[in-house]
Amino acid sequence: MTEQNNILTTNDLQIGYQGKVLCSSINLRLQPAKMVALMGVNGSGKSTLMRTLTGLAKALKGSIEIEGKEIQKYSREDLSRLLAVVLTDHINAPEMTVKELVGYGRYPHTGWFGRLRLEDLQRIDEALALVGMTEFKTRHLYTLSDGELQRSLIARAIAQETKLIFLDEPASHLDIPNKAMIINLLKQLTEDQGKTIIYSSHDLGMVKKYADIIWLFDESGNLQEITFQQGVESGLFERTFGEGYQSA
């Protein structure tokens, strides 16, 4: 595949905040329809990388290209039609319903008034069906469990109809059935809809089962692009996460 086919490219990217460098010389080439797990110990730079790749934080150096065009050359509006992000931010809207939340995913596609057309309502219903939340449509957010809320947030990202979806620890505070359900759902999105998923995770078991590629912040703070197999065989996982990583 040629350079043009890459959905996401970084060239000599340096990330960090307030002048503090977290990681340098990041050169990523990501092809579409892949599931990428972003791993590393706490504070290694996972969130900062995600914030930088989604344009929320500025790169200290180097460039990021999405579909061959530098990220700064996109307006915030254009970017919202290219990439969706599921954050762990708390949503402070007591009266909001699941349908309204998912509907916000359609905002980049609506006009000045934000009115949802028939097509938008269809996309909302499809997204809700995909995450198994159809019957929760009229429920208020404060009545949902963590798993249901996470599924609704993912439905919002699906409704946004973007090629790229970023998720910040999408399964971190979920129980085992919900965790499996969410990760499985993300995998399906890459396979059935050709979406590219980048998610941060601490769960090696799930990563082994579902991730095509791992971006790992290693023990010296460099970002390595590896497969699960390579991580085990090269001893990278052991050096990064310590000897007991397999039992974790």
Partner: protein, 341 residues
């Protein structure tokens, strides 16, 4: 909530607002019958002391209540959305403190020979507007540098604290007679608004209301938090500047003409969200226009103490009514608030 139910609530609110408006025109120390008020309004009466009272005193007061109620309530919605804080109101940016500071300064200068400005209501309003806008631009200038809303909120409250302490110092050195002018101003007053002031007040508030409605799509996305809003295509800087400008202008101008009117701006957005069971800003802003106007008209009627010759300061009435409303909503929805705020 179904669309039909929402429309019915709007119709009911519009009727309520209109009824209070007419009732406010009927209320006052001079005894003018409702029929006479209507015939004066529709131009079927010759010029008399009664038509003077209606056109020169009561109509400006009722129009002021209508636009001030609507303007303060919508400013409250904007502030609560910007800061995602249920206690935020039109004055958290410190605009009323800026106005108060200038008014206090004028009162003190009144003692040093500049009192001619005090005798003209518009002169006092003009200085208050200068104070309010100065604080608004200061906050705007800070907002360019400070990127998160919580810090901005704290800075706004600090500016308010700073200006009130300066006001305190000024008060300390002012003679009791002059001080009384200032105290009376802080009570808030709709009767202080004259017909000429309305030519300025109504357009500014109207522009603010229309501008607020025009940014409702971005305000809705802002409910998801600053980061999510950006990721859904909102230009965060532009929307924050718009919110600060609208609130600064509307609340600033209102404070300048009618003094700081408490509680309406904080209570009405809660009342409306509770009434319509929604966070959708098109509904909340439109609902706040009608509800805010109705509530301040109602407060004005109560403050006239119908059947008596005395009138209460409007600020006390809005607090007497506004505070229980907030308490009632919070107690009623305690589960809702506990899980979200």
């Amino acid at each position: 909530m179904s669309r039909i139910k929402t429309i019915w609530i709007f119709v009911a609110l519009a009727i309520l607002m209109l009824s209070f408006f007419v009732a406010d025109l009927i209320t006052g120390s001079a005894d003018i019958s409702p029929v006479k008020v209507l015939s004066i309004l529709f131009g079927q009466e010759e010029e008399s002391i009664h038509s003077y009272i209606i056109f020169r005193l009561r109509l400006p007061r009722a129009l002021a209540a209508l636009f001030i109620g609507a303007g303060l309530s919508v400013s409250g919605v904007l502030m609560q959305s910007l800061f995602r804080n249920p206690l935020a109101g039109p004055y958290v940016l410190g605009v009323s403190s800026g106005a108060s500071l200038m008014v206090a300064l004028m009162v003190m200068l009144g003692g040093t020979g500049l009192s001619f400005l005090l005798f003209s209501g518009f002169g006092l309003a003009l200085t208050a507007i200068v104070g309010a806008l100065a604080v608004m631009f200061l906050v705007l200038f800070i907002a360019i540098r400070v990127h998160d809303s919580v810090s901005l909120l704290i800075i706004g409250i600090m500016i308010a604290g700073l200006t009130s302490s300066i006001v305190g110092i000024i008060q300390y050195f002012t003679s009791p007679e002059l001080l009384q002018n200032y105290i009376v101003w802080t009570f808030g007053s709709l009767t202080a608004v004259e017909i000429g002031d309305l030519y300025f007040l109504i357009p500014v508030v109207s522009i603010g209301l229309i501008w607020s409605l025009s940014i409702q799509k971005s305000l809705n996305i802002l409910l998801l938090g600053d980061n999510n809003a950006q990721l859904l295509g909102v230009n965060l800087k532009r929307i924050r500047y718009a919110i600060i400008l609208i609130t600064g202008l509307v609340a600033g101008v209102i404070t300048a003409f009618a003094g700081p009117i408490a509680f309406i701006g904080v209570a009405v957005p809660h009342l409306v969200r509770n009434l319509f069971k929604t966070n959708n800003h098109f509904v909340v802003i439109s609902g706040s226009i009608f509800t805010g106007a109705s509530l301040l008209l109602a407060c004005d009627i109560i403050s006239q103490l119908p059947g008596t010759n005395i009138a209460l300061p409007i600020n006390s009435v809005t607090s007497l009514i506004g505070a229980p409303i907030i308490i009632w909503i919070i107690v009623k929805n305690k589960r809702l608030y506990a899980s979200n705020f």
